[in-house]
Symmetry: C2
Subunit: 426 residues, 2 copies
């Protein structure tokens, strides 16, 4: 039952059925939310041991000069940097720990470029208009940071292999292009993991701007959801070989491992970048929260602890992703009015509805009590040129709510599509 091939009469009937189903949903006054990639309460319970960890240990008080409760240790505790080292593929000595937010560290690194510059170049604020490449659809909060600093955003299409690397290679010939946002594994929202070739070509980039920086936000580096996880080529080694390590800033956090609001964030970089950031960070603060690092060290122990914990997350998330995929398949599988991703990890299912329909779908959902990520949010300036992309975030709602939300979403997709097709034929 391909909708594009339907007779108007059939379409009208389908529209009418969808409208009735929608009205029934609306009448129920539901409040459903799939707006953001928030872990659910059951996921957070997996890490309750983090809170108990410190209770059982008082070593932080023993060595006077190195008391984790006191000031100091600007780059954080070694054992925690080692855990991140294994997660990020960056040597522990080249990792700086922050507090609870890797986004804050990215913001600060953009700030650093803006106020002080990278690689001995003029600060970005003194270079006239500068630009950032924004693989799209992408992470709205990345785009918000660049927009806040008045940096012009250039969208780069996301292919199955990652950002269109031909285009990236071409665009970085412009010396006013200063960076690119990347979520290289289980990309937000497409779920794509960059291909080995894409990673190698990132390592081999020769941008015109010496102060060009790749913001490598490896937010989902250990966030597998299936038995066939993606693997991401190690950019650090590739850059080391290519002599381009100064081009990259690596980020990760435990926000979706332990607690979104109370995890530990990390930044990795080349020795030269670390030295520049050290100057900034040691003036900015007398050290990160080391007690929270200690809690995480005692609970996670090492990368094996992390991986074990991630199995628990998978056990909760995989069924939710399956609800999303099954509902879409059952409701829309043969209609040819939507395409969606089948990610092996991460936090999102990427949905593309008919061109010109995404805003309408999100608005229909909203009027029936289901909040989705705003249509267009995954594009720079909120501007999805096709008005087709919708980000589905299945993690937060309980399964029963998620089923209802997905049914409603599918009804809204049919409603918007039939509206559009009928209008086109009128």
């Amino acid at each position: 039952m391909n909708l594009r091939a339907m007779e108007p009469e059939q379409l009208r009937r389908l529209h009418e059925e969808a409208a009735q189903a929608y009205a029934r949903f609306q009448a129920r006054g539901l409040t459903l939310n799939m707006e953001r990639g928030k872990p659910c309460a059951e996921q957070l319970d997996l890490a309750l041991g983090v809170l108990e960890a410190l209770h059982a240990r008082s070593e932080f008080a023993n060595s006077r000069g190195d008391d984790s409760r006191n000031y100091g240790i600007w780059n954080g505790l070694r054992e925690m940097r080692e855990i991140f080292s294994d997660m990020m593929g960056v040597p522990a000595g080249d990792i700086i720990l922050g507090n609870n937010s890797s986004l804050q560290m990215m913001f600060d690194c953009i700030s650093q470029g803006y106020t002080h510059g990278y690689g001995g170049c003029e600060p970005w604020c003194r270079q006239g208009e500068i630009k950032f490449l924004c693989p799209a659809p992408g992470y709205d909060r990345h785009f918000a940071v660049t927009e806040y600093f008045g940096i012009r955003m250039i969208p780069v299409p996301m292919l199955k292999t990652g950002p269109d690397i031909d285009l990236v290679e071409q665009l970085v010939q412009d010396p006013s292009v200063k960076g690119i946002w990347c979520v290289p594994k289980y990309s937000n929202p497409t779920g794509i993991t960059y291909s080995d070739e894409t990673v190698r070509r990132f390592a081999a980039l020769h941008p015109a701007a010496e102060d060009f920086r790749i913001f490598w936000d490896n937010a989902y580096c250990v966030h597998d959801l299936t038995d066939t996880p993606d693997t991401l080529l190690d950019l650090y080694s590739a850059c080391e070989q290519a002599g381009t390590l100064d081009h990259v800033l690596f980020f990760a956090s435990t926000s979706k491992i332990s607690f979104p609001g109370a995890g530990v964030a990390a930044l990795g970089a080349s020795p030269a970048n670390i030295a520049a950031l050290k100057k900034r960070i040691t003036i900015q603060t007398i050290g990160p929260d080391k007690l929270n690092q200690l809690r995480h060290i005692l609970f996670l122990h090492d990368i094996h602890g992390v991986k074990q914990l991630m199995q628990g997350h998978r056990a909760i998330l995989e069924p939710k992703f399956n609800i999303v995929l099954d509902t879409l398949e059952k409701a829309l599988g043969d209609m040819d009015i939507a395409r969606w991703s089948h990610p092996n990890g991460g936090y999102f299912v990427n949905l593309d509805v008919m061109n010109g329909c995404a805003k309408r779908v999100v608005s229909l959902c909203s009027e029936a009590g289901l909040t989705l990520t705003g249509a267009g949010a995954t594009y720079p300036y909120g501007n999805d040129p096709n008005d087709s992309n919708i980000r589905i975030a299945p993690s937060f709602p309980p399964e029963e709510e998620l089923k209802e939300a997905m049914q409603l979403l599918c009804i809204c997709i049919v409603l918007a599509a039939t509206e559009k097709l009928l209008a086109e034929r009128a």
Copy 2:
């Protein structure tokens, strides 16, 4: 035995005695440290209950939409803002909680002026040379932040009533003067609390620059050490009456209440400033560490809990301050070669040795194993014009070590003074 009135022969004898005492100290190979205002381990033990607090409570998981473990609540938990409200004299609704460092919040507020501007004015980075007023001696980390942003620092002498407010009123007529650093209570390092008149005149300031901001770092607002604590006039109310609230940014933290490395920091401001900072902060992070706030709420309860805890700090710190004051009095009381403060609170004793002797004293101490705050560090650009100011930080060393450190310091002061007086007479 006023040294300035001594005969050369007498001076030489005193010098020789001091040199011998110094040599005995040096031979012992001590390692003593009074460099920074770090709380000691016993102080940190006072707040161990913070770490146990969350262990006993699981309410954070109950209300799904408002789980303190998850993302969100950009300005922090209400109950913690209420505790700061009572500490800072700023309404809880106009307080933003950060993570563990108020310095980081100050750095971010300077950043905000630099990259985005205040009060609708051009960002500071687009205004050519700008200046900050720096009451001196003052807090070296404040000065480091302004220096990092290339902001020209104008020293303002500290009087017994606070910064020379006549001079401040005059200097703010310069539209390139954009702010002033203030530690209004138990000022670092002088221990001075601003007089009521000084506070009122700060509230009544009419700077030429609309984007002028007072950085009111109330780091020691509840840090009394005697039965005759200072009281600081409420700047918030004074500004509200004068209609100048937009001029002030208020800061405080629990760094010297609970844990220096793992406390909670806060920023208070006028509704207009809060609105501008909200825009920045909600782009910078998805929220501060609310679990640490929860721990503090459960342990401190309210301002009474804070005050009770501060009694414990006083019990540990007051004897240390007395060791410093008694040793200075006993060793140097009648020599007329040094003056020092008798603070009612805070973390420092402010010492002024003979002009031209501070660097020499600090270096002599260092060579005998005692690390002090670098001479000059309390002045912008590390430049103490008289080379006379030394900051004594008695909190960290155990009492026995502190006694030794103070004896050594006094010997070095005599050594440097006799050297200087003998050289003058030669």
